[in-house]
């Protein structure tokens, strides 16, 4: 199956090419978060390394990914090693460390082959558990070498959805569920656990479709992953999604929808969390009501503890609005953005 819609990919590339790249060589940022991982609430440190950026983005990239802005095409292996060393100077101890690269840690063009394992080794000297991100195509030939880190390393892959049409026409992911499964099997064979990211509500998707797609994708993927993290859309700069949003053609998902997805997946045998960026803001998932804060807080607490009680007790008068939004939207051929009604 051809997994690229050339016209769609071209539009994403055009928007991406308008974005300025960074000239900095230091790591992008670091911050703390909590997550319910391996049966308990864990303190996690996140480190975002600055790299040359995702190789797929040099072609076109994904419709929602705005990490391009943080990348610097001039960065080399030495710069990345220095970033790691600088980071460890300030944060030299912790439980869980997540290392993101605005792309794929195992992409040799992004993080050269010879420094990948040394970086993992170095970081695992200071942290108990390490999570790195990568597209699946870079994993197949690498998993053998990761065997030594069994039980201490998790590889996260952004599957987003298991529906091939969603991946091709709404995200421009350029890989599919089969690629994920292959990478996942290889990693599992070598004792490395797998985390799957699912994107909730890509562009051009209706609210109810977003709920259904995320639930279905989570169920599909649960046999091939050890952990599912649901990312409801937040609108990042320089993306196709941002263009749609600015035109009044995209609305991030309702927090009600996120809650519905999480509650629907409570019977899944692996943890499902959702650490939301921009929760309650217009560029992030929101109900557009004063309940946004309590919803955001509750979803975060649930993701930190795995306790469904935080979600079960949520209520708000805006539920009716959400129900009506879903129903009315379903009657149309396209997705809608309710902000238009007030501003038009």
């Amino acid at each position: 199956m051809n997994s690229i819609d050339l016209q769609f990919a071209g539009e994403i590339r055009e928007i991406r090419n308008r974005i300025g790249r960074s000239e900095r060589k230091d790591y992008v940022t670091t911050y703390n978060e909590k997550e319910f991982l391996n049966g308990r609430t864990r303190d996690e440190r996140v480190l975002i390394l600055r790299t040359r950026g995702c190789s797929w983005s040099y072609h076109s990239g994904c419709s929602m990914c705005g990490f391009w802005e943080d990348t610097n095409p001039e960065i080399n292996a030495n710069d990345i090693m220095k970033q790691v060393e600088d980071f460890l100077k300030d944060h030299n101890k912790g439980d869980v460390l997540k290392v993101f690269t605005s792309g794929s840690f195992f992409d040799p063009l992004e993080v050269s082959e010879e420094i990948q394992v040394p970086i993992i080794e170095k970081l695992l000297n200071h942290y108990n558990f390490l999570i790195v991100e990568s597209r699946p195509e870079y994993i197949i030939n690498k998993a053998e070498r990761l065997k030594q880190f069994a039980g201490k390393l998790q590889v996260a892959m952004g599957m987003e959805s298991t529906d091939p049409d969603v991946l091709k026409y709404l995200i421009n992911k350029n890989y599919n569920f089969e690629d994920f499964k292959r990478a996942s099997e290889t990693l599992h064979r070598n004792g490395i656990s797998v985390r799957a990211y699912l994107l909730m509500k890509p562009p051009f998707m209706k609210e109810q479709e977003a709920i259904d797609d995320t639930i279905k994708s989570a169920r599909d993927i649960s046999s091939f992953a050890d952990f599912i993290s649901i990312n409801p859309m937040n609108i990042q700069k320089g993306t196709l999604v941002e263009s749609l949003y600015k035109e009044g053609n995209y609305r991030p998902p309702w927090l009600w929808s996120v809650v519905e997805v999480l509650l629907s997946l409570r019977d899944i045998h692996i943890p499902v969390v959702s650490l939301i960026t921009g929760s309650g803001k217009s560029r992030g998932p929101h109900n557009g009501h004063s309940c946004d804060r309590i919803f955001s807080e509750s979803i975060r607490k649930y993701s930190e503890t795995g306790d469904f009680a935080y979600l079960e007790n949520l209520s708000c008068e805006c539920r009716e609005k959400w129900e009506s939004f879903k129903t009315e939207e379903n009657s149309l051929p396209i997705q809608i953005n309710e902000a238009v009604y007030n501003d038009f």
Binding site: D5, G248, N249, F325, P333, I334, Y341, F344
Partner: protein, 487 residues
């Protein structure tokens, strides 16, 4: 199918246009592979998937381009606009909207002319108001009053912005959709200044020739044509002896400047304005800009005027103009007569008439003939305008009309012709009898009728080449008369 600029009234694929349908009743379901495209075409229905809803200029540009490029399709814009946006949305060329925005608005927000107000049972009230508005829109389209309705009901910021942007920036795109069939034009609004028919007039007038060595600027009259009004008759009774040496130009809003020879034609004969004596800044600016262009290559021995203070503000472009600030009445007509008679007025009736006919040929038929190539022959109350032996125009009390010579000239230039599939009885040809139509023809234009490569007659077109794309039946040409066969 009836058309009013970009807006159509009728039915496509059993769907009434224009209409605001119940959300979901347009049977389009799009797969993900279709949704990421800007438009989706399914049979006759074009669904606008993506449009910049927050940038009015982009919005207008997109819809007008779609209307131009897909004239034979029904344009459906899902989820757009509340009740008072409907007029402008349909004006831009959208055929079908849906009621989703009203439904989503819910029961406690009532839509009014002055905004959305908190209220009770609003859904029902809004739906009724929606019905009323759609009926009004249809009625105005039926009666060729849609532009008047759009100007009157453009009450939201979006509506006003979109109308102004359309007029100011997209005239060129609207021009192929113009319609010159005679009808009343009510220029009641500041927005009327740039309505396309008016803008068309100004653009055509700019290039017309100077008809005399002297100029007289006078105000318009409520009665049309102006020369039938009491005030203009009084003026003529005083200055009649000099008229063959004076070009009369009427100063009026929103048309700007009307050379006397155009007073019998659309839209000059058909417009009406509220008379306050006060001119808005926009009107004055329009008048000044037009005057600068109209008079830039014209040189007069004398410039006379009777104009109100507001109308006369552009007169600084004529440093030696002399006349009266005031109304056109008996007293001022006498005064201007005195001024004019004190000057040496070079008269040349024949030359003035030739230039006037040359201007008429340019204005009505877009054909440029040197006045010196024209000859005028009067027969009783009829006049014939000729080049060589060929008769171009006939002027009677009923007006000006094409003769065979002009028909030949137009057909040879590829202009204003409609090819028909036979010579039909009666004075009409219906659309199935039309073979082709030149691209410059607009409804209301007098056209030459062509059959088998020969010109056979003339008539008034009821359509343009765009209309022919979508209309398969109905009246095509009216008021046909066949040219007599050559002996």
């Amino acid at each position: 199918m009836k058309r009013n600029l970009l807006t159509r009234l009728g039915e496509i694929d059993n769907i009434e246009i224009p209409s605001v349908v119940k959300a979901g009743s347009i049977p389009i379901r799009e797969s993900y592979s279709e949704r990421n495209k800007f438009i989706n075409i399914s049979g006759k229905i074009l669904t606008v998937n993506r449009i910049n809803r927050f940038n009015t200029k982009e919005f207008v540009r997109t819809i007008i381009q779609l209307r131009k490029n897909y004239f034979d399709k029904l344009i459906y814009l899902p989820n757009a606009g509340l009740i008072y946006d409907y007029p402008i949305l349909f004006y831009l060329g959208i055929d079908v909207l849906d009621d989703l925005p009203i439904r989503i608005l819910g029961n406690d927000k009532c839509i009014t002319e002055f905004g959305i107000l908190e209220g009770e049972n609003c859904l029902e009230k809004n739906m009724k108001e929606k019905e009323r508005m759609v009926e009004r829109i249809k009625l105005s389209l039926e009666n060729s009053k849609f532009r008047e309705l759009v100007e009157g009901y453009s009450m939201t910021s979006f509506g006003v912005e979109a109308l102004r942007i359309t007029d100011m920036l997209f005239y060129g795109d609207i021009e192929p959709f113009l319609d010159f069939r005679e009808r009343d034009v009510r220029a009641n609004n500041i927005e009327s200044i740039y309505r396309p028919e008016i803008e068309y007039f100004r653009r055509r007038v700019k290039n017309l020739r100077q008809t005399s060595q002297n100029l007289l600027l006078i105000p318009c009259s409520a009665i049309k044509p102006y020369s039938q009004s009491k005030t203009h008759k009084i003026l003529h009774s005083r200055i009649y002896p000099f008229l063959s040496g004076i070009q009369e130009v009427i100063v009026t809003s929103p048309l700007g400047l009307v050379p006397r020879e155009l007073e019998n034609f659309f839209p000059v004969k058909n417009y009406d304005i509220p008379v306050t004596g006060y001119w808005f800044k926009d009107e004055k600016e329009m008048l000044r800009n037009l005057a600068i262009e109209f008079f830039q290559n014209k040189k007069y021995d004398n410039v006379f005027f009777i104009l109100s203070k507001e109308e006369s503000e552009f007169l600084d472009i004529f440093p030696n103009a002399e006349g009266i600030i005031g109304n056109l009445n008996f007293e001022n007509s006498e005064k201007i007569q005195k001024i004019i008679s004190s000057r040496d007025i070079k008269k040349d009736r024949n030359q003035k008439r030739k230039i006037e006919f040359s201007n008429i040929l340019r204005y009505l038929y877009d054909i440029d003939i040197e006045p010196s190539d024209l000859k005028i022959e009067d027969e009783g109350n009829r006049s014939f305008v000729k080049t060589g032996k060929e008769i171009l125009l006939k002027k009677t009390v009923a007006g000006v009309s094409m003769e065979k010579g002009l028909g030949e000239l137009l057909y040879r230039s590829g202009k204003r012709f409609i090819e028909v599939s036979g010579k039909f009885q009666g004075d009409s040809v219906y659309i199935p009898g039309i073979v082709s139509i030149s691209s410059d023809v607009r409804p209301g234009n007098e056209i030459v009728l062509v059959y088998n490569g020969e010109i056979i007659g003339k008539g008034i077109s009821q359509l343009s080449i765009l209309d022919l794309q979508i209309q398969k039946k109905g009246l095509g040409i009216s008021k046909i008369s066949y040219f007599p066969k050559e002996k």
